[in-house]
Amino acid sequence: MNSVNESAKEARARVGFDQVTVVIGMEVHVQLATQSKLFCSCSTQFGAPPNTQTCEVCTGMPGSLPVINNQALQLAIKTGLALNCEIARSTKWDRKNYFYPDLPKGYQISQFDKPICGKGYLDIADANGAFEPRRVRLERAHLEEDAGKSIHDESSRGGNSKIDLNRTGTPLLEIVTKPDMRSAAEARAFLTELKLILVYIGVSDCNMQQGSLRCDGNINLHIEFGGQTIATPIVEIKNLNSFRAAERSLTYEARRQFDLWQQCGLTIDDSPKQTRGWNDAQQVTTMQREKEESADYRYFPDPDLIAVSTSEEEIAAIEEQIDRLPAIWREHLSEVYNLKPYDADVIVSQGRGLVDYFREVADQCGDSRIASNWIGQEVLRYLNESGLEIDRYPVAPRQMAELLKRVVSNQLEQTRAKEVLNEMVASQLSVAAAIEKLGIKAVDHDELKSICQQLIDEHPEVAKQIQDGNIKAVGRLVGKARKLNPNANPGLVKDMILKFLGI
C-alpha cells in the first residue's frame, strides 16, 4: 500500500510545471459613480467622518424601505454594453442572507437569477506579445449594495470592533468572468483593461486605495497526468488590493497548488473551495476558511422591491453615450496616426484625456511619431512624478505642438527643446517666451563654421581618429561645441565637422 502511494507520488514528482494549465477566473466589484446610494439618498462621498452619511434606510432601521437609484441602473447598463453583455430587459432583486455587523439588514440586496447584465466578453492582448490575444468571457454583471466597514482591534487584546456604515448601500457592480485566463499575467491584463474601460466610459473612478475597485481571483490547475486531466481544488483569493498583488498572488498560488499536488495529490473532488488571503508583506497566500456548508445564503426575491424593465429605446440611448472604447482608440492611433502598437498602448492606457491631448498635439504639429515620443516620455514622466492627471498638465496642447513644430523643422534641436519644455512647465511660459528666457537663438552659418574650425584645430588627435574611420569620435567634438555656444545645433555641427574633414 505504502509503496503504491510512494510510486504515485514519485510519478507526480516527475510532472513538470510546463504540463500544467493554470485556470483563472476573476470577480471584480466596482463602485458605480453615483451621487447618492443605491437605495437611499445618502451621499456616497468617500472620506466623511464615520456614520455621518447614513439614514434609516441604509442602517436598516425597522420599517424603512429601499427605492432603486435610476443612475445606478444606467451606469450598470452602460458598463454591460461596453463589455458586450446581454442586457436584461427585465431584472429583479434578491436577498442574500448572512450575518455580519457591517451588514445592517442581515441581508444584502443583490441579484441572483436575473442579473442586469448577462453574458459578455472582454478581449485582452499584450502590446509586447507576452501572451496570445485572448477573449475572456464574462458570466454576468449584477448590481448590489456595498456593506459598511468594520475596524477590528489589531492589538490582539480582544477589544471591540468599530462599525462605520457610511459605505453601506453604495452601488456595486459585481463582474464575474468565466475561468478563461491562463496565467497571472493574463489576469493582470484583464484587470488593467477592465479598469481602463470603466474609467473611459465614466462609470467608476476605479480608485483602488479608496476601495472603488476590488477584486478576488479564483484559481486552480489542470494537470496532464497519467493520460488524463486532473484538476486541483479551487482556491479563491480575496481582497487583492492592487493589480500587482493580483498578479503576484496568482503566480504564487499556481506554484503552491502545484507543489501541494505533487506532495499530496489532492484533486478538486477531494476538497471544497477554499478561501485564502494575500499577505503582501510576506508575498504568500494564507488560508482564511474553507467554504463551510453553513454558508447558506438563502437567496430569495426581495419583496420590498419590484422588477425593473428596460426598453430597447432606453438601451439604445445609453449606448449612444458610450464613446470609443480603448481598443478602438488603439486601432485608431495605429492606423490614423501611424503609431506602433506599443506606443499607441502607452497613450491609450493613460486614459481618454491623454488620447485627446495626443491627437491635438499630433494634428497641430503634423508629426505623430514625434508627438507620441514626447508625450510618451516627457509628459508621462512629469505626470508620474507629480501625480497629476493630464487635465492639470501645465502645457496646453497648442503650446506643445508649437514646440514640436520647431523640433520637426530643425529650428530647435532635441536637447534644447527639452530645456524649453522644462521652462514652459516650470514658468508656465509660451514656447517663444521660454526660448527668449533661455537666450536661445539660431547660430548663423559663419559662426558655426568658425566654431567647427576651432574645434578641429584644438583637437587634432580627435580629428585624426575620425579621419582614420572612427566616425563616432565626432560626438566628443559636438559635445565641446555646445560649451562654446549652447545654441549650436549638434546635428549641424556634426555634419559640418565631417565635411571639413572630407568625410
Binding site: P50, T52, N69, P101, S161, K162, I163, S309
Partner: protein, 97 residues
C-alpha cells in the same frame, strides 16, 4: 417525528438563524417545527401544471425608481442614540473571535 426535520437539522437551522437554543428548547422546537412542517408539507402533494409561475409579491408592477439626488443624512447622534454600544462615532461590537 416529522419526515422533514430532525434534531440535527433543527440545530443547523438555529445556527443559521443565530438563535441559541438550550437542549430542552431544541427538543421542544424539533417537535413543534415537525408538526408545522407536516402540516405545510401538504403543499408537496398539490399538483400544478408546469407553466404555473411563482407569485412572489402581491404587486406585479415595474419600475419604482428614484433620481440620483443626495438628501441630507440623519444626524449621527440621533442614529447612534439607539445603539446598545457606541463611542459617539462608531457602533461598537464584541470582537469576531
Amino acid at each position: 417525528m416529522s419526515e422533514f426535520i430532525d434534531r440535527a437539522v433543527v440545530e443547523q437551522v438555529a445556527r443559521l438563524a443565530r438563535i441559541h437554543l438550550s437542549e430542552q428548547q431544541l427538543d421542544a422546537s424539533s417537535k413543534q417545527l415537525g408538526e408545522i412542517l407536516n402540516y405545510v408539507g401538504q403543499l408537496e402533494r398539490v399538483t400544478l401544471p408546469d407553466d404555473v409561475e411563482p407569485f412572489f409579491g402581491a404587486i406585479e408592477s415595474v419600475n419604482a425608481i428614484r433620481a440620483d439626488e443626495v438628501n441630507s443624512s440623519v444626524d449621527r447622534d440621533s442614529i447612534l442614540s439607539n445603539a446598545p454600544d457606541s463611542d459617539g462615532e462608531f457602533y461598537s461590537v464584541p470582537p469576531v473571535f
